[in-house]
Every structure is written in C-alpha cells, then in structure tokens.
Amino acid sequence: MSPSHRHHACCDGYTRSQLLRSAAAEAGKGLPAIEPGMPEPAGTGLSRRRFLSRSAGLALAVYGASKIPLSAFETGIAQAAPTDKILVSVFFDGGIDSLNVLAPAGDTRYQQLRPNLKLAPGSGPAFSEDPSLQWHPAASALATLHGEGKVSAFPAIGYDHPDQSHFTSRHYYEIGELQVGYRTGWLGRYLDAVGDSENPLQGLSLDGSLSPMIATAEKPVAAIDSVDGYDLWSHVDSPVQTEMFNSFAKLGSLPADSPAMGQVRRATSQTDKLRQDLDGVGDFSSPVEYPDNRFAHKLAGLAAYIAFGLPMRVVTVRAPGGYDTHADQAGDLDENLRETCEGILAFQRDLEARGLADRVMVEMWSEFGRRPEENGSLGTDHGAAGCAFVIGSQAKGQMVGEFPGLTKLDEDDNLRVTSDFRGMYCSLLEQWLGFDAEAIIPGAAGFVRPTLVKP
C-alpha cells in the first residue's frame, strides 16, 4: 500500500534536489538554486490547472495552454483520434549502475574494480549478443524479453564530455541537446509539432507531476496522481457503503454555526460530490497478472487506457526507487531493478494479450552510469556511459554500440561511450513516431541512427 519513498543510500543533496525538481515541474513554484550552474528543468514555467475529464474518466493536472478554457479539453479529448504509435519513457532516476544491469562478470578487471559489488559469473541470465556480458538476476524479466527479440540494448550510451551532475546530465537527456536553459523537452517539441491544442492526454506523466521531457511550448500536456481516479477507500463494501456515503453527504449538508464548521461541511459535501462525479473512474481490469506494487499498477492502468482508446502519444513514468546508489547499492538495486523489469514484462504481456503490442514502444533510460570502481561505502559514485533499452514487439532487438570494456576508461576513470543518446532519439522519432528528427533534435544530421524498429 505505501510507496517506498526511502533513499537510504542516496546523497542527500540529490534526493532534495530531485524533490525540488518535481515541485518545479508542478509549475509556478520556481526552482531554488541548488548547485551553481544547475540548469532549470524544462517546463518550469508552465501553468498548471486541475481538470476532470468525464469522457476520459481521469482527474488530470493539465500543463500549459493557459488561454484555453478547461471545457475545451473535454471536447479535445473526445474528438482526438487514438494515435497509432505510443512511446513510453521509463526513467531510472539517479543514474543506474549499468555495470550491474549488464555485467562483464567474467572480466578480471571488473572483479578487481568491484570486489564487493561484482556479479558472480553465471549468477544471472546470459546476454546472447555479447558473451562477455550477463544480466543482473533481478533483470531476468528483461532478459526474457530480450530472448524473444523484443529488446534493443545500449550497453554504453551517453555523449562526449560527460557531465557528472545529476541535474545537468538529466537535463541534457530531457531536452535532447547538450545545452542548459532549454524550456521544452525533446518529446515536448515533438508534441508541439504534431499535437492537438485541446488534448492534454497526448503527453501524459504518470507521476503526479510533469516530466520535463514532455514540457511543451504551446500544446497542453498532463500528469495524473493516480491511475485509479478519485476514490474514497474504506473498510466498507456494498451495500452498506452506499448508506455510509449517504450519511457522509448528510454530514456535509447540515447547518454550520461557526466558520470552521462551515469549512468542514463544505469540504465534506464537495468531496462527496466529486466522488459521485468520478464514480467508476480508473476501474479497470487486466487480462494478465501484474506484480503487486505501485509501478506495476500504473502500467496496468496505462495498458487499460490504451485499450480504452485514450488519445495518448507520449507517456512518461519513473521507475520505482532511486538509483543514486552511493552506499549499500546491492540490495536497493536488486529490489528496484526487479520491480521495474517485472512490471515491464507484465505490461508487454498485457499489451500482447490485448492485441496492442505493435502500437507501443518502451524506452528505458538514466542520466548516466556509475563509476566502474566501487567506493568505500559498498556503493558507486557518478559515472559516464550508462545503459538504455528500447523494448517492444516492434523493437529490432539488436544491441546498439558495443560494450567498451574496462581496460581503457575515460580520463575520469569512467566507462567510455559507444552510442549517443541523441542518435537513439532521432531513430525513435523517425522510425517509430514517423517524424523528421531535424525539426526536434539540434544537429540531428550529425548523429548515426541505429535501426531500432523492425522493418
């Protein structure tokens, strides 16, 4: 029931800043400076309004497009056609340790650098495309999909002159450019180009606050607190439940003899009204079984929304837990990676069962990888090249960029980059979303486009 908000092993500054970012993404709050030169997240200045869409059955926080009356969104959502292709972005927040997700377990250099955090050879599934690598046991679900040819792995993705600040590097990934000060995300610019001016569902964050990646300049986008809508959960079932709510409404309608009493009465009656208005919202069922956690539940809701025909183009969601594992990495990484991968596998199976798998592509990313040499706290510090995955029935399923090995590291003793994240973006835009990357990614012409989608 309760989400794990713990970040035992994180550096405090990071955790704090991460919260600030989510606050900033809620627009209008501004972002206090944390580090000199830290970029403001894209989308910081977007206005936010709450909107209840009866037609979509969702309580949405709508971002941007402040001049459009909220009622127009209702029409917009109702009229927008379900789009053909959907891109789902899953973010490993904090910099996931790619050398543990796809580990060169048999490498003696690896064993030297990771006396405590190395994976034992054979402890996880083999990685068929490079026998020197193996999956983390907690990533078995991803290995299963890889075995079915549905996963394109990037074992060392990044960019030249890597920045080891969470905020700066994450900002680069979010905006699709090595600059600070962009106000729109790379997918936000895509939505500005192809989106509808009255359909906020086209860009949807399943995190309660907007991902800067889908921050637009003009077109509305949305975030939702919960895939379950607005419910008043209790230990009471039907039919007594109905009588309970009748009495709840009655308590809200009684006269008030003080201002404070008036406040409680008003809040009570409005809450009950909203409950009735949104009755049945988020009431979905899944054809497959999902793991019992919030991340999986969000994905289950998402699959149901896609099946329902909600007009979404781009969806973002944060992977469970934090990946800034400066201390006691092993347990946290195992738990969070397992939840993520098992959730993604269930989501893929759900889409397959519903016959929707050819419409959805998942991209998993992180702002950087971690230092090959572990630190003294059973953790790892910020590194350079990291990992990314493109997952789906239509994914090409072929590794992009080789694993660079640990013999030669970069000047900061970090893993060298063998693929550029902007190349991945260009391919996703052109091959999956069918849109010219030149208009979205600055300098797109200069990036090699890996083949990510089946021909």
């Binding site: 908000h5 008043l232 039919p239 309970m244 909203l274």
Partner: protein, 533 residues
C-alpha cells in the same frame, strides 16, 4: 551438542503497561493583586526551582507592595478548588470534560482515554499548568515507532522518517504542549528540508524549539537566527561584509518579530540589519553537506548601522534584540501566538493586556501562553480546524496505535502537512486546510488509522444480533469516547438503522453488521467532531 528439533521460539517481549505519570502541580503558582487594581502571577518570580541570581529579572512588574501580598493571603471563594484560583479576567465558567478536551487538543494532540477526566480534577489553572510547566524531560510511553518493515526509524537518513519521528513524539509524549509549541515555532520560523543539506539539522532545529518554547522570546530568536538549518534556509551563511544577503533580515522583521504593513520598519532598516547579521559561515563537503557553522569576524561588517533609528556597531545579537525591543513587537508577538490557539483575533483590550503581560515579563513566552490558555475566548469561542498532523496524532492517541507505517508520510503530504516541509517561509495557511483533495486525504487517514481495529467483514465472527444503538456505542467507544454533536449522533444512529434494513438473508447478519461498524468508525473519524478542535 544437541541439535534442537524445532526452531527455538524467541521469548515474547512483555507488553509493557502504559504508565500514566502523575501530573505535576506547581505549589508556588499564585495569582496576586498587583496593588493597582489588577492581578499578576507570582509564580513568574522564578522561585519554584532556583533562587534568582542577583540582578535577575523578577518577572512581571514591580515587586508587589506589602498590602497586596497581604491581600493575596485572603482565601479564595469557597466554590473554587484551592489550586484553581483563577485571575478575574480568566475564563470563569465550568471546567469540565468538554473544556479539558479542547485544552488537550489545542495545547497538545488530544486526550488518550481518561486523560481529560484527569485534567478536570486539577481545575482550570492546575490543568493549564500541568501542560505549561511539565518539568524534567519528556517521557515517551508505548511501543517505539517502526517503519513498514518493522525496523526502527532512521529520521536523519530515510526519506520521510523525520515526519514519522515527530509524529511519534506527538502521539507518545507526556509533555504534549512542548511538542505543540515546537509545531507552533516550526510554523512561526518555518524552515524546510527543501534548502537544508541534512535532515538532522532540521531535527536539531525542532529540538531547539522544544528546549526554548516557554522561555524568553529573545533567547529563542537568537538561537534560531544562528541555527544551522535557518542559516542555510534564509542564506544567513552567505551574508558577508561587502555583499550582504538581506533574506534573513527581511523575514526576521516581516514574519518573525514585527509584521508587514504596520510601519514597523523600512527597507533601509532591512539593509542595515543585514549588515549587522554578517559573518556567519560554514564549510561544505559532499559527505557532510553543510557543516562547521561558525561566526567569522573577518566576514563581519564592523561599521556603524542604524536600525529603527538606533545607531551602533551592531552585530547579529543586536539585530535580534532591536527587533524584540521594538515598540511594535509585543503586539505582534501576542497576536501571532494567540492565532495558533484561538481562531478570532483578540479584542483591543485583551490584546493590550497581553501585550502588557509580555512586556512586563521581560518578553517571556510562558505568561502570555498561560493567559491565552486560561482566557474566556479559548473556552467560549468557536472551534478551529485541526492541522492534519494534529488530526492524525489525536486519532492515534485515541486508538492507542503506535507509529507502525510509512503511509503517514504521504497521507499527511496529501493532506497538506508534511513536517519539516512547510510550503514556504511563512509556514502553513491555517485557514485553508480543507478542500476536495485534502479532505480525501483525511478520509484515507481515517481508513488507515482504523486498519488495525476495523472488524473483518467476511470472517463470520461478528455479532449477528448487535442493535443499532449498540453498534454506535461500540464505534464511539473505539474512538476513545469523543463527544459527538447531537445531530451527528442522530445521523449515525440513522445510518446504523438503515444498514440493518439491508439485511435480508441469514448469511448477511454478521457481515453487514461488521460493515456497519466500519462505516460508523469511518464517519466518526471524518466528522467535524474529530476534525475540529
């Protein structure tokens, strides 16, 4: 060596019985005439613990005249208990359970079962004093707080455990007013984790509030001014000679001691006070965050500054003192403190009287606080909406439930109040606790609070004969027997009857009654009776 055939069973820890500490009565507390037709409190002469040092403040006003001391010896009216000698401007009505419950809610986090009755026996003044003069260190009784995995909290390290740590103190302390005043000052000097490098520094700040919440406001103000969390939050650590940072100087006047739009200070006063506050700094490391906070004379501007018309080579302590000695500070102080306990502002006459008490006491918090907690407005005035953490803590106290889940972190956040995360430097807005979003959170708060005691609907053990009256009585008793308004009780009884009419088959008798019990428990939790204080 013999190998045990069965896994050894660890001895069950003995359930410790909750100790009720006897409430301490201050024998030295006395209201005495001041010789000018008014009353004053003799107990503030600091003689109940230690003899005052030579030259120490003697408390409010001059030493009482001989005649007045003699008058004080006159026995109190026979109707009042001997220790309940109320000053004439105090509340004169009956001090029964209703009044004690209000006192326990606003000056604490509500009663544990039986506590209100215990307070009644002390009389108004004795009851208030038992809260305002607890003496000694606080005792936490009952099971220690745990996270969802059953582990002890890590308040300085784990996300949100700082919130649980404080919530636990609210639930288990025997000095509830200390925690409530710490909450008051957490809002008054609102500092947030958002710009403080270590959560432990936030916790340390709250301990500062606990230690100084009844004493001299100037001492508190000075301690807060150079508190590491505050130094980071309002950039006091970046305020240096030649490049002053005005952030703290402005808020210390506007929010902490004088108030905006009262003509108390000018922009020039802020700039000059910022210069006086220069010199504090700290070191930084990625491991420790901000640490080693200290005053560095090299960073201090030693020149003359003119603040509120007073010129001198002022330093940070002078800046605090000048604010507290400002003629408009006492009225700001008493009105602000009042607002935490009583919803409508005091009349001009009451305000002036409190202001005089404050100024006369050498700007001590305690006499004003005691005057507020014994005032007629406190007991006769309208109710207030409980802040979310007070609503939650009061429910957990009533239910006897310890902190055993991290759900309280996000539920309180949803309800609008995560401790150590006030929305901004002006704190929480006490007039806006309730809307459809935060009300839903309060509903869920009640659902979660009832998790342990809600009868299982389908386990076939619930009574099949319970009457509506019995059902309601049981639900009220489960909540520690709070007083319900007649119209609420009537509606709940009606619900109990309507629910029973839904039973049409034999198998429904028990399960529907269990559901009915849960419905009654739920609605009591979200009723005005439990949301208001």
């Amino acid at each position: 060596m013999t190998i045990p055939q069965e896994k050894p069973v660890a001895a069950r820890p003995k359930t410790r019985r909750r100790k009720r500490r006897r409430v301490w009565k201050d024998k030295h507390f006395r209201w005495v005439p001041d010789g000018q037709g008014d009353w004053k409190v003799e107990a503030y002469l600091f003689r109940h613990r230690h003899k005052p040092k030579a030259g120490h403040s003697r408390g409010p006003g001059k030493k009482p005249a001989r005649q007045a001391q003699a008058a004080a010896a006159t026995p109190a009216p026979a109707s009042a208990p001997p220790f309940d000698q109320r000053p004439p401007d105090a509340y004169q009505g009956s001090f029964g359970t209703t009044q004690a419950v209000r006192l326990l809610h606003r000056a604490g986090f509500g009663p544990v079962p039986g506590q209100a009755e215990q307070l009644v026996s002390l009389g108004l003044v004795g009851a208030v004093q038992s809260l305002t003069r607890p003496g000694g260190t606080a005792h936490l009784s009952g099971p220690a707080p745990r996270d969802d995995d059953g582990n002890p909290l890590a308040p300085g390290d784990a996300w949100g455990h700082d919130h649980l740590w404080w919530l636990d103190r609210m639930v288990r302390t025997d000095q509830p007013l200390v925690e409530r005043m710490a909450l008051v000052f957490h809002d008054w000097f609102a500092t947030s984790n958002a710009n403080v490098s270590k959560t432990q520094q936030m916790i340390d700040q709250s301990n500062l509030f606990r230690a100084r919440c009844f004493g001299s406001f100037l001492d508190l103000f000075k301690a807060v001014t150079v508190d590491p969390a505050m130094l980071q939050w309002l950039n006091g650590n970046e305020n240096r000679k030649g490049s002053p940072n005005e952030n703290y100087a402005r808020e210390m006047m506007e929010l902490f001691s004088l108030g905006a739009d009262r003509g108390a200070y000018s922009e020039e006063d802020i700039r000059e006070a910022a210069r006086a506050l220069t010199g504090w700094r700290n070191d930084w490391s990625s491991e420790l965050g901000a640490y080693n906070f200290r005053f560095d004379p090299k960073r201090h501007d030693t020149g003359n500054k003119t603040v509120f018309g007073n010129t001198g080579a002022w330093g940070w302590e002078d800046a605090c003192r000048l604010c507290v000695e400002h003629p408009l500070h006492p009225s700001f102080f008493v009105e602000k403190l009042w607002s935490y306990f009583i919803p409508a502002p005091p009349s001009a006459a009451v305000r002036d009287q409190l202001t005089a008490t404050y100024a006369g006491s050498g700007r001590q918090i305690l006499p004003v606080l005691e005057a507020i907690l014994t005032s007629p407005e406190f007991y006769e005035g309208p109710p207030m909406v409980k802040p979310p953490v007070v609503h939650l803590a009061s429910m957990l106290r009533a239910l006897g439930r310890p902190i055993d889940t991290e759900a309280w972190i996000y539920i309180c956040d949803m309800a609008g109040q995560q401790l150590f995360w006030p929305p901004n430097v002006s704190g929480w807005d006490d007039d806006r606790w309730l809307d459809t979003s935060t009300m839903r959170a309060r509903w869920l708060m009640v659902t979660y609070a009832l998790e342990e005691i809600a009868p299982d609907t389908w386990n076939d053990t619930y009574s099949t004969t319970e009457t509506p009256d019995e059902a309601l009585a049981k639900a009220i008793a489960s909540w520690g027997s709070p007083a319900l308004r007649d119209e609420h009780r009537a509606e709940l009884l009606d619900l109990a009857k309507r629910s029973e009419k839904l039973i049409v088959a034999n198998w429904q008798k028990g399960p529907y009654r269990a559901m009915r019990q849960n419905a009654l428990l739920q609605l009591i939790g979200v009723s005005p009776d439990l949301i208001l204080q």
